[in-house]
């Protein structure tokens, strides 16, 4: 079997551990090397890899050395948000396909640089929006395509989580912002994917309300799409420390012929103990991250773009930046 040889660049975003796990589990992927400037993260990742596949992989402190390996076809980038652009451009120039963690970048000009670099190099750029690969999302998409709820009229979703992030998530220089930057994009992308409509206007309220930090942690966003479709998104770091699960990804879609709703975190067995937290939900859902890596690898090997492209990532960045502007100016922002 032909395999996609992958390098994992940076574990600053914790999703990389999940992508690495998926890369080891998937038969069409071979994890070749990992890179991280942080020695502790690199060691932790190497230990995980050894536990999963019984052997270590090449490690680098400088991701540019990993990019020089001819045995690497593609990289998965999970650095701080501000580094996405530089790393993606470097990877593309080294001839590597790229799957980049969201948000793609902190400005549209950076996103354009990333897309142009990938186009010039003839490599694919994928955006890590794993929610599309949750089996629930995929079932809902099929239902909508089959006309089960008729034409989509309105949408509402929440992506509220316990704040688990590393310290850089709260550093606007590295993250670009708080919960708006972190969590608008998943629900937004599902709305676009389900409805086939593009966003045209954004209104947001946001504030630093849960704890003292330099970025916002509570927000509400209403997005108007083409054809007067409305979608509301709650992207928050507001779940209590001992919530039943890490967060939610819930969506409700109203159509002319019905309504469909789901929460990707709600396939669970409840666990109750004598200790604190006394109740938690143990998920038995299949990994959406594995679905994401599977699609990326399968698509690249087949010589076609992944399901979620750089263009999809660009829309997410555009809406997120508009949400910041709206929250600052207290008015709806029309997307250019």
């Amino acid at each position: 079997m032909r395999k996609l040889r992958v390098g994992a660049v940076s574990f600053a975003h914790g999703h990389q551990y999940s992508y690495v796990t998926a890369s080891i589990e998937l038969p069409m992927v071979e994890l070749v090397a990992i890179a991280d400037q942080d020695a502790d993260r690199l060691q932790r990742a190497q230990q995980l890899i050894k536990n999963l596949q019984g052997r270590k992989v090449l490690t680098f402190n400088d991701y540019r050395e990993l990019l020089m390996l001819e045995t690497v076809d593609a990289v998965i980038i999970c650095s701080t948000n501000v580094e996405h652009c530089e790393m993606t451009v470097a990877a593309a120039e080294a001839g590597k396909h790229v799957l980049c963690e969201k948000p793609l970048a902190l400005s549209l000009s950076d996103v354009d640089r990333m897309m142009q670099a990938c186009d010039r190099a003839g490599v694919y750029l994928g955006t890590a929006y794993p929610a599309r690969f949750d089996p629930l999302s995929q079932r809902v998409r099929r239902k909508i395509e089959d006309g089960a709820i008729g034409e989509v009229l309105a949408m509402s979703g929440t992506n509220s989580v316990i704040y688990w992030g590393s310290s850089w998530f709260e550093d606007p220089e590295k993250s670009g912002g708080g919960c708006l930057m972190d969590h608008i994009v998943h629900i937004l992308d599902l709305f676009r994917w389900f409805s086939g409509r593009e966003p045209i206007e954004v209104y947001a309220e946001a504030g630093t309300l849960m704890k003292k930090r330099p970025v916002e942690d509570v927000a509400m966003v209403v997005v108007t799409f083409e054809d007067e479709l409305v979608g509301a998104i709650k992207p928050c770091w507001d779940r209590p420390r001992y919530w039943t699960r890490w967060g939610d990804v819930s969506v409700r879609i109203l159509g002319t012929g019905g309504v469909v709703e789901f929460d990707t975190t709600a396939q669970y067995v409840e666990r109750t103990t004598d200790s604190v937290p006394n109740t938690s939900w143990l998920s038995y859902a299949e990994s959406m991250d594995k679905g994401l890596v599977d699609n990326f690898a399968t698509s690249v090997l087949a010589g076609k773009p992944p399901l979620v492209t750089g263009s999809d990532g660009r829309v997410g960045v555009a809406v997120t930046l508009a949400a910041y502007k709206s929250a600052e100016e207290h008015r709806p922002i029309v997307l250019e």
């Binding site: 309300l209 509570v218 209403v222 409305v230 507001d238 309504v259």
Partner: protein, 303 residues
């Protein structure tokens, strides 16, 4: 003996029944002008009147469109009769303010959520302060409405939601709302974001355009040290019919509507205190008015 005249189509059967239980069925009249289409369906035990003000020693209970409510309230106040109004009743905030101030205690506006045990519980929890500072409130009320009750039901739902947002969150400083008319020409789906004076954020989603039989209610109140949440999917009485319909209910000995009307009757009969003040009504109406205006002009409305 106090009598009650029930006007308007909203929950009219329940209101007739509740007033009948409290005042005696012989003391309840149905105003047939506004609900004449339903008169055949009524049992012969219910008295009817074509003139709400011909019944002596009565209060009038109206739950209709804004225009119907306004007409009844205005006439009731002119006749010096006590009136209970479910939902908004004025064309403008100035008019609502004038009527509430002029009427004094003769005009009671229904704030049903304040008689709902789960909202009372949440409010009590918030008031203890144990959960810390409020950061956000999210209310979602989605249902289907009968075609002829759509607008009435929508306005009533939006009023109650506005009241809940005020009651739980405090005073608002600005709102932005998006409205949709999905099943007809009048508003039947509303998304609203509220920014409170205390900087916390509120969100309300009210829809009466959902498929027949659909009903969903969600409440989340998040504070710095914890959160309170309710979801109608957890309602304890679950019923599946042979037609494949599924309903979930919460069950009360006295429904919020019964508790509220019982308190209002006790006020009119015995002068007992009412938990809701006219300032509460005005605040809810102001927020409702701002949400509606924002949805209409598609801009932020400052309060």
């Amino acid at each position: 003996m106090l009598r009650a005249v029930v006007a308007g189509a909203g929950e009219w059967r329940q209101r007739v029944e509740i007033y009948g239980n409290v005042l005696g069925h012989e003391n309840v009249y149905l105003l047939i002008d506004s609900i004449s289409k339903r008169r055949e369906a009524l049992s012969s035990e219910v008295r009817m009147t074509e003139d709400a003000f011909a019944v002596e020693n009565s209060i009038i209970d109206t739950w209709g469109t804004v225009t119907e409510n306004l007409s009844i309230v205005r006439e009731a106040l002119r006749h010096g009769v006590g009136v209970v109004c479910h939902g908004p009743f004025a064309e403008s905030m100035e008019e609502a303010r004038d009527m509430l101030q002029g009427a004094g205690s003769r005009l009671l506006v229904a704030h049903e959520i304040r008689y709902s045990p789960k909202y009372e519980l949440v409010k009590d929890q918030l008031d203890t302060g144990e959960l810390g500072t409020l950061t956000n409130v999210r209310l979602v009320w989605l249902t289907s409405a009968e075609p002829d009750l759509g607008r009435t039901w929508m306005m009533k739902q939006c009023f109650e939601a506005a009241d809940a947002l005020c009651w739980l969150g405090g005073d608002a400083k600005r709102v932005m709302a998006k409205g949709q008319a999905l099943k007809g020409r009048s508003l039947d789906n509303l998304f609203g974001i509220v920014r409170y004076d205390n900087d916390s954020i509120g969100y309300v989603e009210v829809g009466t355009c959902y498929p027949v039989g659909y009903c969903f209610e969600q409440m989340e109140v998040v504070c710095r040290r914890g959160m309170l949440s309710y979801d109608s999917d957890t309602r304890p009485l679950k019923f599946s019919s042979s037609k494949g319909e599924l309903t979930r209910e919460e069950v009360y000995r006295w429904t919020p509507l019964e508790r509220m009307l019982g308190e209002y009757v006790a006020f009119f009969q015995e002068g007992r205190p009412i938990r809701v003040k006219s300032e509460d009504t005005l605040r809810a109406l102001e927020l409702l008015d701002a949400l509606m205006r924002s949805a209409m002009v598609r801009r932020v409305v400052e309060l």
